[in-house]
């Protein structure tokens, strides 16, 4: 069975092709292509611009994916697309493309929940059997565990997603959005040494980030560290010059703020994950979503899991960050159980909770 997965719920357009061999051997990735819409420093990606990006790239990417996978249209069994959650306009532009391909080629459609896509891809790549899942990205922050055919949400953010918090602080500091704002924060944070006090907001298994963002934005303003000017200085200065400045002076630097933000929000994430693990009695953790590719988060989660006698499963940016194969993977699992999305129901939705999906393919 071969499936094409089409993902475009945020600023990444991903087309992936997966093969589930008939003999039951492990699924194979035939193609995994992604094109990202990058906005200028200091700005986020707007739905209309992102949708325009997806519209202009989707055909190219599908052609390229088919070529790379060395499969013809006849080999394809189904077309999987992201039904939600995500930003409305980008989702719509991809679903229109999926519908078009379905009619053009006479293939069936499978609508996939984006979060379930992440979980299924993470399970496939890492081989984790029944982990507690921390799903952290620019739009979602959830702690999930499987129980009786649902991926149940044990904890989640009460306001903004953790990735959104990092991205927006990157905007405050005018850090580049290429390849991703979170990635550049991570690099800058490596030079940070001083921990500034930030709010730490955990409520049971839930957490909140908006107050932290407001606090750190306030600090950046107070110390005059935001804006374009400072960003330029960042690029000019070399790392050792900065280190010399650090030791002579106790006011926080841009790097210190990035460092403190990461330390604080990641501690919160590890804490709620640990609480969920203790609650369900699991020893495996799987980190998925774009923020999951942050090495500091992976390291902290690893220490926590080790101290509980367990282990952490994480993937690299190819599978962590939004991609098409995860949609193909989750879509094919559903397709295998007879699930189809008729053309008349091939809509998308901005709100689509993880626990709404009936997980027929697991027991």
């Amino acid at each position: 069975m071969i499936a094409i997965g089409m993902e475009g719920s945020a600023n990444k357009l991903g087309i992936g092709i997966m093969l589930h061999p008939k003999d039951g051997s492990p699924p194979q990735v035939l193609a995994n292509i992604r094109h990202t819409y990058v906005s200028p420093p200091g700005e986020g990606f707007l739905p209309k611009d992102t949708a325009r990006h997806h519209r202009s790239w989707v055909v190219k990417l599908v052609k390229q994916a088919l070529k790379e996978a060395k499969v013809s249209v006849d080999d394809v069994d189904c077309i999987c697309f992201t039904k939600g959650p995500g930003m409305g306009a980008p989702l719509q532009s991809v679903v229109v493309a999926a519908r078009m391909l379905s009619l053009l080629w006479g293939k069936e459609l499978v609508g996939v929940n984006h979060c379930v896509g992440h979980i299924e891809m993470g399970r496939l790549i890492t081989g984790a059997t029944n982990p507690v899942v921390l799903y952290v990205s620019g739009g979602n922050t959830q702690v999930i565990a499987y129980s009786s055919q649902r991926y149940r949400i044990f904890g989640e953010t009460l306001d903004m997603a953790v990735g959104n918090c990092l991205d927006r602080f990157a905007r405050t500091l005018h850090i580049s959005n290429d390849p991703a704002p979170g990635y550049n924060i991570e690099q800058l944070a490596k030079q940070g040494t001083q921990l500034v006090d930030l709010p730490y907001v955990v409520k049971g298994m839930d957490c909140s980030f908006s107050g932290i963002l407001a606090a750190i934005d306030g600090l950046a303003k107070h110390w005059g560290l935001g804006g374009e000017e400072k960003a330029r200085e960042d690029i000019m200065q070399t790392a050792d010059v900065k280190a010399a400045v650090d030791s002579s002076d106790s006011t926080p630097t841009r790097a210190d703020l990035c460092f403190s933000l990461q330390e604080t929000v990641f501690s919160m994430l590890v804490e709620i994950t640990e609480r969920a693990m203790a609650h369900v009695g699991s020893k495996q953790v799987l980190i998925v979503g774009g923020v999951g590719s942050n090495e500091r988060l992976q390291e902290m989660m690893g220490i926590m899991a080790r101290d509980r006698g367990g282990s952490v499963y994480a993937t690299d940016e190819r599978f962590c960050i939004d991609n098409g194969i995860m949609i193909a993977q989750a879509g094919m699992l559903a397709y295998g159980t007879g699930f189809r999305t008729p053309l008349s129901e091939s809509t998308c939705t901005q709100r689509f909770r993880t626990d709404e999906v009936f997980v027929k393919w697991r027991d």
């Binding site: 955990v202 298994m205 203790a278 220490i303």
Partner: protein, 270 residues
């Protein structure tokens, strides 16, 4: 991966006889059973080891803040007559808080007999699954659970009335202490007779705001939904028990409606 070893015990507990026995490793703390003053008096020892994944500064700040907060809440609740374990001793800074110290903190509390409500409900749900009961027996069984939920609601009400919110209400943090002697279970169907005792005030705080109270109830509602699907439909009984327990309950429950409808938790379908 390797076998799990709990961190070494802080002094003086590394030198007591009999040694403390590890009961559970929670997310935040290790719970041991030990004795206080006399070997015949059991006590619960809660140790918050330092968390090596956190930045040391942040770790010390959180550990210290939380153990003191917990002790203050327990002390206050015991004074107010709420059924919680009494506070016996505390070390909030580990070895006097020296830089080279142990970094963790501990709290010793009164020992509570019985089991947590999670276990009671799980046993009951498992037992129900194996039975083929007629409608009348099912109703009788569910009545017992309703009674327990109502009692839980009342216990939470008394807690809120005393001006404390729990912050992490799950069925693992509510205990059922049997009246008098141990009740013998027949065929795995658990007894639901007893006092509901609230435990683990690690995330508790002093607050009388409807918002905090409502979030407490909401957290519990979702915890029951995700761990005890069979008992979830009876949650309204808990609300009923809560409503009748103190005067401010009505406005807290009104707020609960808002919390349920709020933000990203809300499903936009239909």
């Amino acid at each position: 991966m390797g076998e799990y070893h709990p961190p070494p015990l802080p002094s003086p507990f590394n030198n007591t006889s009999p040694p403390p026995t590890l009961l559970t490793q929670g997310a935040e703390a290790h719970l041991y059973k030990t004795t206080s003053l006399d070997p015949s008096i059991p006590a619960a020892l809660k140790i918050r080891p330092s968390k090596p994944y956190r930045h040391p500064t942040l770790d010390r700040r959180l550990t210290r803040q939380r153990i003191i907060q917990e002790a203050r809440c327990l002390a206050k609740l015991v004074r107010e007559g709420v059924s919680v374990p009494a506070l016996l001793a505390i070390d909030w800074a580990g070895h006097g808080g020296e830089e080279g110290g142990w970094g963790g903190a501990w709290l010793m509390m009164e020992w509570i007999e019985g089991s947590v409500v999670r276990v009671v409900l799980e046993k009951w749900e498992a037992w129900m699954k194996d039975q083929t009961l007629d409608a009348a027996s099912v109703e009788k069984e569910e009545k017992r659970v309703r009674g327990l939920l109502r009692q839980m609601g009342a216990a939470i009400g008394v807690l809120h009335k005393a001006g404390v919110v729990h912050g992490d209400l799950t069925t693992s943090n509510l205990m059922l202490r049997p009246f008098g002697t141990e009740v013998v279970e027949d065929d795995g169907n658990p007894s639901m007779e007893g006092d509901v005792v609230l435990i683990d005030f690690g995330l508790a705080s002093q607050s009388s705001q409807d918002e905090d109270r409502a979030v407490d109830l909401y957290v519990l509602e979702r915890a029951i939904g995700s761990t005890h699907p069979r008992s979830e439909p009876m949650f309204e009984e808990l609300i009923l028990g809560y409503r009748n327990s103190y005067k401010g309950a009505v406005s807290a429950l009104k707020r609960l409606e808002d919390v349920r409808m709020r933000g990203r938790k809300r499903s936009m379908l239909g």
